[in-house]
Amino acid sequence: MNLVLHWLASTPDFAVPYALAALGLIVCERAGVLALGAEGLMLVGALAGVGAQLTFGNSALSLLAAALAAGVVSILFATMVIVLRINQVISGLALVFFCQGLTSLLGTAFGWENHTFAGLGTLALRQNAMVYLTVPVFFAVAFVLSNSALGLRLRAVGENPQAADAAGISVPRYRFAAVLVGSAIVGLAGGYLSVVSTKLWVDGMTAGRGWIAVGLVIFARWSPWRALAGALLFGCIEALIPQLAAAGVRLPQYFVFMTPYAVTLAVMIWAGLASTTGRRSGGEPGALGEPFVREERR
C-alpha cells in the first residue's frame, strides 16, 4: 500500500518533462515544422537552467533561463528549415548533435557538472509548484490551439500553407513563431529535468527523453490531451523503477533501464496497428515536414 502511494506520488515528477516536451513539439508540428530537435533543445534547457540556478540560486529564474536558451538556439533551426528550406529531418538531427556537443563542452568549461543544489520545495500532496503549473499551461496551449483565431491560423499554416497564404496569413512568420514558442516549452521541459527533478547537470542527462517525446506526439496524434495522458503513462513506468528497487525486487538493472525505450517502441507499434486496421487515423498535420515555397515552380 505504501509502495503504491509512493509510486503514485512520484509519477507527476517523472511525467512533467515528457508532457512539456510533447506540448512544445505539438505547437511546432501543428504549424507544419517537423521538430526532431527536442533531445538537443532539452539538453540546452537543462544546462541553461542549472547554470542560472548555480549563478542566481532562484529556481523560477532558472526555468525561465531554460526556456529562453532553448528559444534562442531554435532560431538556428528555424532559419535552417524556414528561410533556407533545408530538409527538416537533416536539420533536426544536426540540431540535436549540435546541442549535444555544445552543452557537453559548455558544461565542462563552466564547471557546472555534478554540482547539487536545493531547487524547488514541495507543496500539497508532495508535488512541486511546476507540477501544478503544468496543468494550466496545458489548458492554455490547448485552448489557443483549438479555440482561438491565432490557433486556427497556426493550424491552417500546418495543414495547407498554400491556402493559408492565399488567405493572407504569413506562413514563414507563423512557422517561425511556432518554432520559437514550441522550442521554449521543450527547453522548459529540459530545465524541469535538471533544476527541479534531478537538481544536477550531467552530460547527456536527457537520455533519449526528447526522442521519446517525438514518438509520444505521433502516438497522441498531435492532440495535447492525449499527449498528456501518454506522458503520465511514461511517468508511471519511470516512477515504478525506483519503487521496485526500494521494495527489494531484484531485476537485471540494464533490462530495467531499457523499459522507457521498449515502451516507446511498443506504443509506436500499437499506434501503427490501430491506424492500419482503420480504427483511428489522421491527426497528422497535412504539410508536416514540407517547406513552403510561395508561387515558385519546384
Binding site: 535552417m80 533545408i86 548533435f97 557537453s104 563542452l105 531499457m258
Partner: protein
C-alpha cells in the same frame, strides 16, 4: 524585410563545378567557425594546423591511425547512404554496430569453428546480427507504417543497454576490473597486410567498390534511384518498391554490423562498453556530404576518420573534450545543408526604385 530588397530565383540548371564550389565554400565556412570555437577553447589556429594537417597526413604513424579509423567509418558511411538511397532514415547504425560486435564476440567466446575459419565466421555473425537488428524497424515501417526514425533510435538504446548487461555481467573479463570482454585470441584479430596497416582498410575498400557496383551498375541501383526520386511513380512503373527497400535496408544493417566487427576484431581486440559512440552521426554526415555516392562516401569517411584522430590528440594534449568533434561535425552538416539553398536558388539584389 528581405523580400523587398532581394529577390529569389530558382536556378534552372547548376553545373556540377558550380555545385562543387558552393559546397566547398560552405564546408570551408564550417571549418572556419570550428577553428574559431577551438581558438576559444584554447587551441590556436597554428597549433590546429600542425595537429590536423601536418601531423595527421604527413606523419607515418598518424596516417596509419587515420586509415585504421577509416575502415569502420567507410562501412558506417556506406550503411547510411544505402538506407538513405531508399529514403529510409536508418538512425540505428550504432545499435546495429553493437549487435555486429556482439555477434562477432559470441563466436570468439563460444569458440565456434576451427582456428582457420574463426575470423570469417565472426565476420558473418556480425553481418547477420546487424541485419537482424534492422529487420524489425524495416518490417514495422513496411507493415504498419511505424516511423523508422523513432524505432531505430529506440533500438539503439536497447542495444547499448544490452551491451552493458553483457560486459558488466556474463561476458566480463574476470582478469581485469574493466567492463569489457576477454581479449580475442591472435587468430581472432584482423591481421596486418603490411607493417602497421590492418586488412580492415582493404576490406573497407572492397566493400565500397561492391556497394558502388550495387548502386551504379546493377539493376537494383536503378530501382533505388526510382524509389529515391518518387516511390509512388516507381511503384506505378513496376519497380518492386517494397522488396527493394527491404533489401537495401537489410544490407545497410549488415554493413553497420560489419563495422562493429571491424572495431572489435581490428581496433579493440575485445568487446568494450562505448566503442560505438560517435559513429551514428558520423555515418549520417558521411552519407549527406557524399550525397549517398559510395565512392565519395569512402573519401569523406577518411576525412571524418582524420577528424576523429585529431579529436583524440586534442583531448590528450589540449584537454579539449571529445564532444568537440561532434560539435564540429554538426556545424559542418549545418553549413553544407545550407549550401543546398544557394545551389538551388539565386539571391538577386534589387536596386531601390
Amino acid at each position: 524585410m528581405p523580400e523587398r530588397r532581394f529577390a529569389l530565383e530558382i536556378r534552372q540548371r547548376t553545373s556540377w563545378q558550380q555545385q562543387g564550389a558552393i559546397l566547398a565554400a560552405a564546408v570551408l565556412t564550417g571549418v572556419l567557425i570550428s577553428t574559431a570555437i577551438l581558438a576559444l577553447a584554447g587551441v590556436s589556429p597554428a597549433d590546429l594546423l600542425k595537429e590536423f594537417v601536418v601531423q595527421t597526413f604527413f606523419d607515418k604513424q598518424n596516417l596509419q591511425a587515420v586509415l585504421f579509423q577509416a575502415a569502420p567509418m567507410i562501412m558506417i558511411g556506406l550503411a547510411a547512404s544505402l538506407a538513405f538511397r531508399v529514403r529510409f532514415w536508418n538512425l540505428g547504425l550504432e545499435g546495429q554496430m553493437i549487435w555486429g560486435a556482439i555477434g562477432a564476440t559470441a563466436i570468439s567466446i563460444f569458440q565456434v569453428g576451427p582456428e582457420t575459419t574463426r575470423l570469417p565466421l565472426m565476420f558473418m555473425a556480425a553481418a547477420a546480427a546487424g541485419l537482424a537488428w534492422v529487420a524489425l524497424p524495416a518490417a514495422l515501417k513496411l507493415r504498419l507504417g511505424v516511423n523508422e526514425i523513432i524505432s531505430t533510435l529506440m533500438l539503439n538504446y536497447l542495444a547499448s543497454n544490452f551491451l552493458l548487461h553483457l560486459v558488466y555481467g556474463a561476458w566480463k573479463d574476470t582478469r581485469t576490473a574493466f567492463p569489457h570482454s576477454p581479449q580475442f585470441r591472435a587468430f581472432e584479430r584482423l591481421p596486418e597486410f603490411a607493417p602497421g596497416f590492418s586488412v580492415a582498410i582493404l576490406l573497407g575498400t572492397a566493400i565500397a567498390l561492391a556497394v558502388w557496383w550495387l548502386t551504379d551498375v546493377s539493376r537494383g541501383g536503378l530501382y533505388m534511384r526510382f524509389i529515391h526520386a518518387n516511390p509512388r511513380v516507381a511503384e506505378a512503373v513496376g519497380v518492386p518498391v517494397r522488396r527493394m527497400l527491404l533489401a537495401a535496408v537489410l544490407v545497410s544493417g549488415a554493413l553497420a554490423g560489419i563495422a562493429g566487427f571491424v572495431v572489435a576484431a581490428g581496433q579493440e581486440g575485445r568487446l568494450t562498453q562505448g566503442f560505438f559512440q560517435g559513429y551514428g552521426f558520423s555515418g549520417i554526415l558521411i552519407a549527406f556530404l557524399a550525397r549517398n555516392n559510395p565512392l565519395a562516401a569512402a573519401a569523406v569517411a577518411v576525412l571524418v576518420a582524420a577528424l576523429f584522430v585529431t579529436g583524440r590528440s586534442l583531448q590528450v594534449f589540449y584537454q579539449v573534450p571529445f564532444s568537440m568533434v561532434q560539435l564540429i561535425q554538426a556545424i559542418i552538416v549545418i553549413c553544407a545543408a545550407g549550401s543546398e539553398f544557394f545551389i538551388r536558388h539565386r539571391v538577386r539584389r534589387i536596386a531601390p526604385a
